[in-house]
């Protein structure tokens, strides 16, 4: 799975660079958070140990690393890949699970606060596209099942 989503040639360069380490807000503020270590482990085939780590969820996706990366590739891609693998194994934090359930059910991450809107004199919120969204997702599932993709 990892091999298909990450470019090891680029990561090989990453392991010798570390520009992202100098700008990443999580590196500056979270003790022990170090991209170089993660990338070294991925390259040596030991990515499994990071799947249960808090660190992969502490990447803020601020895209700083992508911007400063000489390859425009970035640490972020490695972290996203690890999170995707962890999520497939159901190892994502409970809050992420709750958020995902709400997203799938309602197509939103929160419904408009109607009483507060009334008090502020705001118009009715636009109709939600949740029905169409759910239909679309059912279609996506069908297509994946048809293509034999496990999901």
């Amino acid at each position: 799975m990892l091999e298909t989503t990450l470019d090891f040639k680029l990561l090989e360069m990453c392991s010798r660079c570390g520009a992202c380490y100098s700008i990443c807000p999580s590196c500056m503020n979270i003790p022990g958070y170090d991209p170089r270590e993660v990338i070294r482990d991925i390259l040596s085939g030991e990515h499994e140990k990071w799947l249960s780590s808090r660190h992969i969820w502490e990447c803020l996706e601020c895209h700083y690393c992508v911007e400063i990366c000489y390859q425009h590739y970035g640490f972020e891609n490695a972290m996203t890949a690890l999170r995707m693998v962890a999520a497939r194994k159901g190892m994502h934090p409970p809050q992420v699970k709750r958020g995902w359930d709400m997203f799938v059910k309602t197509g939103k991450l929160g419904e408009p606060a109607l009483p507060a809107r009334k008090k502020l004199g705001l118009p009715e919120p636009g109709a939600s596209g949740a029905d169409e969204f759910r239909r679309l997702h059912a279609l996506l599932k069908e297509r994946r099942a048809g293509a034999g993709e496990a999901k």
Binding site: R54, T80, H92, V96, L109, A113, F133, H137, L140
Partner: protein
């Protein structure tokens, strides 16, 4: 100017309807051609949806863009995350015809088509590029001369730059330009571009989220900023709600957090109450009262005649 739809996003409508209020007041004051349209869903939020199901992330965003494509509208949003996610997917699909065809194959079955032609803009770059600072200056009733404002861009207003293409991703200037156009001083400080850290609150790491907020707020306190101005509901949640929690725990912070549209609204002559600023958790009144006190300050030319009563060259 092309008509545009406003994409409010989930967080503003669910948690901060007063931000919608001030945004509408400002858009109407400028007479901008905005519309509300039906059918939007979550943009979707990247860290949540993309990590679990990439296909769903792309499909949902493509559908939202298709809604404005269809009506020949552009899209403007007061939420940085929404614009960043929608633009990321739009850029990706426009660059990859095969993926675009696949997505459209699914969208067609619900009667939609992603064309990827609409312009997607965040409110701040929109005011900078499309409305223009000269227009803002013409329209405002009072500027913020004498106020010291700390800006927080919000990562996703400017990054990833390959999708957004609206400012320098490592040294942005547009928000600063607008603040200076409004007459305030835009403070330069160490943590100016530091990520707010709200993302940590979404992955069960509340304490670490507070750590992030604390770093910036302490610096702002030290340099004496009158307010922290930002334009992202997620950053607002971090600096307003989480700051409130820390103050309640006895930390001596107390930096007013003001949304970009509220600042603009004040300059246009709306009161803090009309703009919904009284709904903030952290009290904004120190900022507003300092600003009002400044307006009572005599103008530099006041009383100048009194000093000119002596003998003149004409006797």
């Amino acid at each position: 100017m092309r008509e545009f739809a406003v994409f409010w996003g989930c967080t503003i409508q669910a948690r901060f309807p007063f931000i919608e209020k001030s945004t509408r007041l400002v858009l109407e004051s400028f007479g901008l051609p905005y519309r509300d349209i039906d059918g939007f869903t979550c943009c979707p939020e990247k860290s949540l949806v993309n990590n679990i199901d990439r296909g769903s992330f792309v499909l949902t965003a493509a559908r939202n863009v298709a809604l404005v494509d269809e009506l020949g509208l552009d899209l403007v949003s007061p939420c940085t995350g929404c614009v960043s996610n929608l633009s990321t997917v739009k850029g990706e699909l426009n660059a990859d015809p095969r993926e675009k065809a696949e997505v459209n194959g699914l969208l067609r079955e619900v009667g939609r088509e992603f064309k990827g032609v609409s312009r997607l803009q965040h409110l701040v770059p929109f005011f900078h590029d499309t409305v223009g600072i000269h227009k803002i200056k013409q329209k405002i009733k009072r500027d913020f001369d004498g106020m010291r404002i700390a800006l927080h861009y919000g990562c996703h207003m400017i990054r990833p730059s390959h999708a957004l293409k609206n400012d320098d991703p490592l040294n942005p200037v547009k928000f600063d330009n607008i603040i200076r156009g409004l007459g305030a001083e835009s403070l330069q400080f160490m943590t100016k571009l530091m990520c707010c850290g709200q993302g940590l609150d979404r992955v069960d790491a509340h304490d670490k989220a507070l750590d992030f907020a604390r770093v910036k707020l302490k610096e702002l306190k030290a340099i004496g900023a009158d307010a922290l101005v930002l334009c992202c509901p997620s950053c607002f949640l971090q600096f307003d709600n989480n700051q409130f929690l820390m103050i309640k725990e006895g930390e001596r912070l107390g930096v007013p957090v003001i949304y970009f549209t509220e600042l603009l609204g004040l300059a246009l002559g709306f009161s803090a109450a009309e703009l919904g600023m009284t709904s903030h958790r952290v009290d904004c009144s120190p900022f507003v009262s300092k600003w009002e006190a400044l307006s009572k300050r005599p103008s530099p030319s006041a009383g100048i005649e009194a000093g000119l009563t002596g003998p003149s060259a004409l006797g």
